[in-house]
């Protein structure tokens, strides 16, 4: 079913948006998300196509193998983020953005030229753990719900407060004794893990994986999710990811105009809502209005 497939892709969009959001939550504009998404996808593609033991005997790919892929992808991406994070996160603002785009590009070119990643053709025939899009929708929904839960808990946790403090004033945060470098690194690693987990599901869902999955374009698209939805509270990137992924499909009836309309939404969104569509103040106003009604 087309609609369910779109729903799955919207879920991926929301997850990747949350992956961009986490470093932003402590003021770090990292565009490395597609790189870790690609890593997750390659882990899934390689394990499921090159390791026969994982496929089991049945018609569909075992869920336990999928779980193992998720675990390994999280570990690999988390470890890469841990190693790269220390030096990279010393950069600030636009310099960090450029450096992380460079990371994504380096990874893409490597994947394009390595034999084990299938080169330009990539890896295809990735086995299916689910019969149809419904299973993927469920798995994506669960992963998204868990990630949202984590992000919403963050607002009440010490770690979340430290992240907000760093975003608002890093020097003040350091004077309060917040280990700013560690907090930023934790956010970066969490961001990488979420992107990698999404990549695992996406590789199976798309049935094929190649170097184009993690590109500069994807960096910009995931950033657009957050710019549109807002980056001050987790609901913003979720909405941005869902809406902007769905938009090209929803606009299909208008034909050739759709790319122009899509561009307009991305252009006009930040002008009308400079902090994104969803802000804590806006939510508070809505809540107050609901209570009054």
């Amino acid at each position: 079913m087309r609609d369910l497939s779109l729903l799955v892709q919207m879920g991926f969009g929301a997850l990747l948006a949350l992956s961009v959001y986490l470093p932003l939550r402590c003021g770090q504009l990292s565009l490395a998300t597609p790189g870790f998404y690609a890593i997750g996808g390659y882990v899934a593609a390689l394990l499921s196509t090159r390791w026969p033991a994982l496929s089991g005997g049945g018609a569909s790919y075992p869920l336990t193998s999928l779980a193992l892929e998720l675990l390994l992808a999280a570990l690999v991406a988390g470890a890469v983020a841990l190693v790269l994070g220390r030096p990279v996160l010393q950069l600030r603002g636009i310099y960090l953005a450029i450096a992380t785009i460079a990371l994504v590009e380096i990874l893409r070119v490597l994947n394009l030229n390595m034999a084990w990643s299938g080169g330009a053709v990539g890896i295809f025939g990735i086995p299916q753990p689910f019969d149809g899009p419904a299973g993927y929708a469920l798995a994506t929904g669960v992963l998204l719900a868990l990630t949202c839960w984590l992000c919403s808990r963050l607002e009440a946790m010490r770690l979340g407060r430290a992240m907000s403090a760093i975003r608002e004033d890093e020097l003040a945060a350091r004077c309060m004794g917040i280990p700013t470098a560690d907090v930023k690194l934790i956010a970066f690693v969490l961001s990488a893990v979420i992107a990698a987990l999404t990549g695992v599901l996406a590789a199976h869902f798309l049935n094929t994986w190649n170097a184009r999955q993690g590109s500069f374009d994807a960096s910009i698209t995931t950033l657009a999710f957050v710019v549109f939805g807002g980056s001050r509270i987790w609901l913003g990137p979720v909405l941005g990811g869902l809406v902007i992924t769905a938009l090209p499909e929803l606009l299909r009836p208008v034909g050739d105009l759709r790319l122009i309309l899509f561009g307009l939404v991305i252009l006009v969104g930040p002008i009308l809502f400079p902090q994104g569509v969803i802000t804590p103040e806006g939510l508070a106003r809505i809540r107050a209005a609901v209570r009054r009604a």
């Binding site: 608002e168 004077c175 917040i178």
Partner: protein, 248 residues
Amino acid sequence: MSTPAAPPLLALRGVSVRYGPISALQDIDLQIQQGELVALLGSNGAGKSTTLRAISRLVKPVAGLIEWRGRSLARTATERTVRLGIGHCPEGRRVLARQSVAVNLELGAYLRRDRRAIARDLQRCYERFPRLGERRSQPAGSLSGGEQQMLAIARSLMGRPRLLLLDEPSLGLAPLLVAEVMAILQQLHREGLTILLVEQNAHAALAIADRGVVLQAGSISLSGSAAELMAHPDLKDTYLGEGEPGDG
């Protein structure tokens, strides 16, 4: 009979700091004993803030030694200095404007785990600064300049420092508020807190300090008891650069 002298709470020995090609501090020697209130004076760009940043390890000296109770801080991270008892209240207040007064204060106690003692300190803080108590759930950005300065000081106190580094708390405040801030510092000093007070308002600072140190272009040019400095004929004109042409 005399017991061997305890090391000073804080000692700077020959400390120099550079920002790239710019030399901000040269060969600074400064000792602070437990319980003292020392005023660090100097005109714009003299290196006052840099001295505080070096002590809290926000910048790393290129030469010299900084010792906390006889132990070198050379390998200490800023968050660790806070844990050791060095509270740095930075220049320009720097309250978190979007967060409430209460959250700002709680963040000041970020490294502490003793919830009950934190709650007690919060209560005491609202007693000491009643206006913060009244506005505890308002965003800090909505406070007046004077209230924000009080919040900045109160937030530093929430970390239970043994030494408070204060960077120009009188900056931009009306004279009445300056007096109010100084009265609070004097009170904290009486309660036993050691304070290194950076000020351009030499008169207000020396009125409550035990002694003063004057920085000029990154070096200490004058130091002495508060009374000596107050009586010094050239303090304002020569040392604080207020008599320079074009300075009104």
